[in-house]
Symmetry: C3
Subunit: 334 residues, 3 copies
Amino acid sequence: MTAASTWADGSEFGADGFAALARRGLDLRGGASARRFPGKRIVNVFFDSSLRTRTSMEAAAHDLGMHCVTLNPGKDAWKLEHRDGVVMDGDCPEHVKEAVPVLAEYADLLGVRAFAGLKDPEDDAADAMLGAFQRWSPVPVISLESARFHPLQGLADAATLLHELGDVRKKRVVMTWAPHPRTLPQAVPNQFAMTCALLGADLTIAHPEGFDLDPAVLARVSGIAATNGGRIAVSHDQDESLRGAVVVYAKNWSGWSYYGHREVEAARRATLGSWTVTGAKMAKTEDAAFMHCLPVRRNVVVADEVLDSNRSLVIAEAGLRRWTAMALLERMLS
Amino acid sequence: MTAASTWADGSEFGADGFAALARRGLDLRGGASARRFPGKRIVNVFFDSSLRTRTSMEAAAHDLGMHCVTLNPGKDAWKLEHRDGVVMDGDCPEHVKEAVPVLAEYADLLGVRAFAGLKDPEDDAADAMLGAFQRWSPVPVISLESARFHPLQGLADAATLLHELGDVRKKRVVMTWAPHPRTLPQAVPNQFAMTCALLGADLTIAHPEGFDLDPAVLARVSGIAATNGGRIAVSHDQDESLRGAVVVYAKNWSGWSYYGHREVEAARRATLGSWTVTGAKMAKTEDAAFMHCLPVRRNVVVADEVLDSNRSLVIAEAGLRRWTAMALLERMLS
Amino acid sequence: MTAASTWADGSEFGADGFAALARRGLDLRGGASARRFPGKRIVNVFFDSSLRTRTSMEAAAHDLGMHCVTLNPGKDAWKLEHRDGVVMDGDCPEHVKEAVPVLAEYADLLGVRAFAGLKDPEDDAADAMLGAFQRWSPVPVISLESARFHPLQGLADAATLLHELGDVRKKRVVMTWAPHPRTLPQAVPNQFAMTCALLGADLTIAHPEGFDLDPAVLARVSGIAATNGGRIAVSHDQDESLRGAVVVYAKNWSGWSYYGHREVEAARRATLGSWTVTGAKMAKTEDAAFMHCLPVRRNVVVADEVLDSNRSLVIAEAGLRRWTAMALLERMLS
């Protein structure tokens, strides 16, 4: 492994490094003693809401002896501009070009959460806010979920898969699109595809026609999957996909083809209630485990009967956020 | 005392246990050395605003060597659903059934503040959000004020009464309704009645007709009072009640009978300005001490001349929040 | 130096004391070991947004071994009334007269940020919220920027000037008004004038006619400047002012004469785009360093070419916020 200046999608340390971090998280959960960094500080900047990421990072940092400061631009701190060369006569009183180097004067690591805007595909594909943090920060930057990826979730998911399946290579994993009342970003499904690719799983992504992931992301993670002995397939037949699966990962996302056509997407989405993950759906699998990144809308994305069954891993999966965040902080500070 | 999984109304450790915690708070204020819990963490979830509870808990936890994380759903964290079996296609992206066990993965104790909605008496009587936290949490839950009770305030009030009166049993205490521009919950008056009941005081609750407390709560605390040698009476004559009182506790609350009739209540409330606690009112007592939970609206609930007199205990009472919170955290972690 | 109960404008310890604190900040940045205050706590109350002040104070307090609690009235804590004798039937459920002594029960120091309202000049000149904190607090109060001054910024600016210029006395410093889309307070320009006065600099304040600072503040700081061998001049000719300057400090502020006439001010401001600090403007100086308190609106207040040049000190200046805050906390707790 070499040093990383940004933790953006989980691929920064290579497939082996990623799996090693996930295993370190499992070891820390099992009681391995953590390293101590008493003089270090992370400042986490949340442009969007968070329960797990916020709390698990504060807990992980504290338990490593670090100091953690949390900012919420537009709420307790100034709104931030990230575009280059702009005349700043609008809504944002501060530019990332100042805010980031200044925060780096106070901290050893920066974290940033900035969701996709879902208006302009080029903006979202460029992952502009994370990119601006990365560009202007003299200290390493950790993505707390960006427009494109959610690597801390990926690390906890990897630890969950490794714990559940042992060797993940070539195991039949399904990520299925599921209903939702809102238009959601693609960061989590992109990340889970990346996670499976890095672990060499045999992943099928099941979604209704039109609800494609960003093809550029898909091409990239498919290449990584192949390198690691895995495979990524896409199917529009949920039932068929579930057959033989040992893990089902549910998530809603908006379709890449629907940028600029969100009303069309919403109308189509309203007809897709049958994609909810139910007990009957799970019965088609090989007694698959159920995973979700949370927060999850009960009885929309997934039925109570699945979430409340003993095949649901969602609480342990979220619990691993704490331990894998510790593993990552250890790594970034070493 | 036995272990408690929830601290909801102050009665969990019995009357003796409650008084012992209050006395421990006084001892801690006096310089007694606190126990240390360096590996422990509390996550406090605030659905409603807070100055004293938020700050005193952060201070108490820190001074015990603990880590304290604070979340504000709907502001920095996701809004939370608490109803069972609901189809979550509305405002809340997350259910307590996930959020609470997840937070418990990160913490040793959970705190929650969720005020009464004042729309549906059954909802408020059920104390639904606190109940959901209690139901789904594998770690102990501390109420930071619920729809029905405010036991941390109760503990500070108990310490204040014990410090002021020595033996509180059979002492003449008056809790009087007071004017206010808004419709307020009953958690604080319920709690003060519970506090007096646990300490065996002779409490008179003075309020205008119609502004009754929840009769079920009143029946329960009256029973507890009787067990402890005390008594709870209700009067609609404020002046008569004040005669002979050694402590006056002022508070506004909405009437139990006004659920669904808030405009009627507001119109009636507008005629009750004479219930403001003034110097002339206090002169009817036996040089009574004045208490209030804060925040307090000056010259609406109580006149400046009372709050600024040397018989007002409100600052020391709020100051005891810190020390009694420490006593409770010690107890919950032991 | 004698003890100060409030840190409000930087003059509290005298000119020598102010410079000594700034030098202590530079020493701490250079690696001098800080004192430790493990039993101490500061509660910071932010009525307005903050990035640098919030984060640098949390960092400084933590690195001194202190505990730091941050409150945001109107967001996570109750809105606060500060006027005396008022009937509190409006928007604010709590009075500073309670909130401040209560917070002082939990803390050894209080910090408060409350910007100018820019509606009523008497209110702003009275610095009412800071004054109310100072009046009702039994523990020392630190201004985190008030209606009139921003002394923590002043201390970091002083350290920046001392580092850049060595002896600041009689050096040609220019503070220039600059364009901005909003109506802004005078706290920062007042403070920079005070900072220069305490250090004995030769300060020229350049601004368009009508955009005067509060004449009472100007008279006071001019007196302090004279005492310290410095001088404060006002000019309406930006180009002429810049000639010979070794430091240029840019800032927008609203004109003292425009209270009650904000539309007139906005119309006039719209014609003053030529006051933007550009490379051509900086070329008129003696290779001056560029300073700004941040946040700064790029290409409105100052051009990218200046901010991105090696003569811009803004990041190091903001970085010094952390070290000078540490110096101040050490001083206030000693």
